[in-house]
């Protein structure tokens, strides 16, 4: 332990639901992935590369959820992303000429430089496989990559523990195949924790997870350090780290959060709408409808109409990001200094965010992180960045507290994923889970086509369990797509179940689903056998 008074653990949760539509040549919702790649994931890798090159040490914890990893390694999506990125480079190059001598010259140059750099990283350094990049920084000890429930399944609403077990096992298996070791930590989807689920984590060697603040504050017995130290779950000893609300608010608050600064980039004013139709058409989707293309030339400016927004100045915006990083660090220093007068060990502040906030939503959030890493490393020695694993090595003794059921959703529990707008799904999710167990118990040693069918059933089940669908139904955005996805997986599951039960499996149908819902190539349906769950529960009685 050094001179520092306490620690900051920055945690970014990177996740997208598995969206891949090989049955269409061009599909709108696939853009979520391409946008996040070019605005968040590759820019983050770029920051890691820069910091490492200049010798700045840093620590960051990141979830790369299994669906996201599967998409990052999917040949079709990689190829489609390559085309997406190429088109951005091409357009931004054209824009250099068009904007020459105008107030937009600087921002046009920024896009061109960035896209070229990202293309270079993607193609030359990572050879189309960005996971290579993330793995590299994990192996260097700067980045701790954690896993998540297999498809971001919402565990507290799963009645059958076999499904909970499968969500964890499939995720851990996927992680091992990609990163060459077992995951030390997990981000439970939506930070939704149900007492006892830690047994399934422990069985996979997972040593820590995260909860919302009240997951620990409402734990039993009272947590001595509040949320400023992890606690161990009884029986399993899996550590729970809780989210710090103060640092969360500084970034998220609509009123006072950093992303609202008038000098930052305006999200809603986009070239897809601004430029001449014939000029922009080649960069729109195949239906030719004007949509956002991710290039924006204006700043927030203030509370003015979209057509009153002023030109964006990349240099000024970067300056603001640096100021905000300084302010964030200053607040953590004060927070940790004060906390260390109350508690008898070095306090730990855990700041958790959706990764896509940085870059995709808050465009300068990437710069903010880069400055924050630098300032913490060079400008002070009161606080130090740390990963949960490093903290647990330093403080192996922690209080045993049973965390409370909780989530980081609105109102702190399950309302977002269980309300009158989406509660109909659970009848089907739970039935499919029951049927999957039934088949796994009935056919313990399936081979050939039967085995393929059973594995595909497991894929359909985990895909319908993605919490994203229920979330989107509640927010009312992309409601049609999320409803359709849920129903599609239910229908595919039920159809295939009938085929298996009726001993009339159609090879063509199995093949079709294998192509469409191709997540988890290595899935083994046996994870749903009751014996697998019982073994875990008996071990941690």
């Amino acid at each position: 332990m050094g001179q520092e008074k306490g620690y900051l653990a920055l945690v970014l949760h990177a996740h997208l639901p598995f969206i891949k539509h090989p049955e269409y040549p061009d599909f709108l919702e696939e853009d979520w992935f391409y946008e996040a790649m070019v605005e968040t994931y590759i820019p983050l890798l770029n920051v890691f590369e820069n910091l490492t090159e200049e010798g700045t040490d840093f620590r960051l914890t990141m979830t790369l959820t299994p669906p996201l990893c599967n998409m990052m390694e999917d040949p079709l999506l990689i190829e489609r992303f390559r085309q997406y990125l190429n088109r951005r480079v091409e357009l931004s190059q054209k824009e250099l000429n068009r904007t020459q001598g105008t107030e937009f010259e600087g921002v046009a140059r920024m896009y061109f430089n960035k896209f070229r750099r990202y293309q270079d990283l993607f193609e030359s350094r990572y050879h189309g496989h960005v996971l290579e990049g993330f793995k590299k920084f994990q192996d260097m000890g700067k980045l701790e990559i954690i896993t998540c429930c297999a498809t971001h399944g919402y565990l507290p609403l799963m009645v059958h523990k076999e499904s909970v077990n499968a969500q964890i096992k499939i995720a851990a298996h996927d992680y091992r195949s990609r990163f060459g070791k077992s995951p030390r930590g997990i981000w439970l989807a939506e930070c939704a924790y149900n007492p006892g689920d830690d047994k399934f984590l422990r069985a996979e060697g997972i040593r820590f997870f995260f909860t919302e603040a009240h997951g620990i504050l409402h734990g039993t017995p009272r947590p001595k350090y509040g949320i400023y130290a992890p606690v161990y779950c009884p029986q399993t000893g899996v550590a729970a780290f809780a989210r710090d609300m103060e640092s969360a608010q500084q970034v998220w608050s609509a009123e006072t959060g950093y992303p609202g600064d008038p000098r930052y980039r305006e999200f809603y004013r986009d070239l897809g709408y601004d430029l001449d139709y014939d000029y922009i058409k080649p960069y729109l989707h195949s239906d030719g409808v004007r949509r956002n293309i991710g290039m924006k030339y204006h700043k927030i400016t203030g509370k003015v109409a979209l057509n009153q927004k002023q030109a964006y100045d990349p240099y000024a915006a970067r300056e603001v990001a640096a100021q905000h990083a300084g302010n964030f660090m200053f607040n953590r220093q004060k927070q940790i200094e004060y906390l260390s007068t109350i508690i008898d060990r070095k306090p730990l502040v855990v700041s958790m965010y959706d990764a896509e906030l940085y870059g995709h939503w808050w465009y300068e959030g990437i710069d903010f992180l880069e400055y924050l890493f630098k300032k913490i490393y060079y400008d002070q020695d009161e606080i130090k960045l740390i990963t949960p694993s490093e903290y647990l090595e330093m403080y192996p003794q922690n209080q045993v507290v049973q965390p409370s059921m909780s989530s980081w959703g609105d109102k702190g529990y399950h309302d977002v994923w269980l309300n009158s707008g989406n509660d109909w799904i659970y009848r089907h999710l739970i039935k499919a889970s029951e049927r999957m167990m039934e088949l796994a118990n009935k056919f313990p040693n399936a081979e050939g086509l039967l085995r393929r069918a059973l594995n595909q059933l497991a894929r359909e089940l985990v895909l319908m369990q993605s919490s994203d669908w229920a979330f989107l139904m509640t927010t009312g955005t992309a409601k049609e797509y999320s409803t359709k996805r849920t129903k599609d997986h239910i229908k595919r599951f039920n159809e295939l179940y009938e085929q298996v039960q009726g001993n009339r499996i159609q090879e063509g149908y199995v093949y079709e689903l294998e192509q469409k819902d191709s997540i988890f190539q290595q899935i083994d349906y046996n994870v749903y056998a009751s014996g697998a769950k019982e073994a875990v529960l008996q071990k941690y009685q």
């Binding site: 539509h21 090989p22 049955e23 269409y24 040549p25 599909f27 709108l28 853009d31 979520w32 919302e212 504050l217 409402h218 017995p221 009272r222 509040g226 400023y228 710090d244 609300m245 103060e246 608010q249 998220w252 608050s253 609509a254 989707h285 195949s286 239906d287 409808v289 004007r290 949509r291 956002n292 927070q335 004060y338 906390l339 109350i342 959706d354 409370s404 059921m405 609105d410 109102k411 702190g412 529990y413 399950h414 309302d415 977002v416 269980l418 659970y426 009848r427 979330f471 989107l472 927010t475 955005t477 992309a478 049609e480 797509y481 409803t483 129903k487 599609d488 229908k491 039920n494 159809e495």
Partner: protein
């Protein structure tokens, strides 16, 4: 435009989806019920009861017995029970329910407890006829624990400071902002999507299809929930009966039968009884027609 298109499809698919026109089933032909936790105060119960189950109960108990019986959810508090046998609960609560509803949100009497819900009939002579028993669900406590760990003691004043710093006062708040931001992000795609065929949009509306030739029917029941808060030193009564405040909050639930008027005067007084506050709530439910 092809009717198989989803919201995000931009052009004709390369392969036809044979399942696209099928709907998902309304049920699975098995009598069963499942109980899910929603938050410290609410549970969600959903069920399916088959015709065979009804026939079986009818033949066992007789048409007349059932006609005069009430249909209820019997919510058993089974906290800390190693095994629930149907009779050894800590206590139970009966809530009127309509079986045809197929799902129900239940306001749990106490947070931090474990529950099992039975669907059944209460006959005119008070017998309970079980139709379906749910799984067990435990609710979170929703508050700071009273249990203090001897080995990890902390000065009470310091603990209160830590609680405030930890954000105990705004648990669950702020998440809506995050959700709005994330929601808006998806919205950009949706707003500008190519539009979905009408056959898809109206899909959700006819999950439970009613035969057109059938005579129409309507059933509804009503419970009212009175909730509120008062200063921590206040003694609060509803309709003359003192109620317990939990961290200054209260909530009670009452059945409102058809054709009834319910008066629920709420009074708060201090310990001396020299300061009082009143709120009067009156509810009317007309007879069905």
């Amino acid at each position: 435009m092809d009717t198989n298109l989803s919201s995000g499809a931009l052009v004709t698919p390369l392969r036809k989806d044979d399942q696209a026109e099928m709907d998902i089933p309304a049920g699975y032909g098995k009598t069963e019920s499942f109980l899910l936790p929603k938050d410290p105060a609410w549970l969600f119960l959903f069920w399916e009861i088959t015709v065979e189950t009804f026939d079986c109960i009818r033949s066992q108990y007789g048409e007349d017995t059932l006609r005069s019986a009430r249909t209820v959810i019997r919510l058993h508090d089974v906290t800390d029970l190693p095994l629930f046998d149907g009779t050894n609960d800590v206590c139970h609560y009966d809530l009127p329910v309509i079986f045809e509803a197929r799902s129900w949100y239940i306001n749990a009497p106490q947070s931090g407890r474990s529950y099992i819900a039975d669907l059944g009939y209460i006959t005119a002579d008070g017998r309970f006829i079980l139709v379906s028993r749910s799984n067990m669900t435990a609710l979170p406590p929703g508050r700071i624990s009273d249990v203090i760990d001897d080995k990890w003691m902390i000065v009470e004043g310091d603990f209160q400071k830590l609680l405030r710093l930890s954000g105990a006062d705004y648990i669950g708040m702020g998440a809506s902002e995050r959700m709005q931001v994330l929601g808006q992000r998806w919205k950009l795609t949706e707003l500008t999507s190519s539009g979905a065929p009408s056959s898809w949009s109206s899909f959700a509306l006819h999950l439970d299809k009613v035969e057109e030739e059938e005579d129409i029917w309507l059933k509804a029941d009503c419970e009212i929930i009175i909730y509120g808060s008062a200063s921590k030193n206040a003694i609060v009564s509803i309709n003359g009966k003192d109620i317990e405040l939990k961290e200054g909050k209260f909530s009670i639930r009452q059945h409102l039968p058809a054709g009834s008027v319910v008066d629920l005067p709420i009074h708060a007084r201090n310990a001396k009884g020299d300061k009082t506050r009143h709120i009067n709530i009156k509810a009317l439910r007309e007879q069905g027609k």
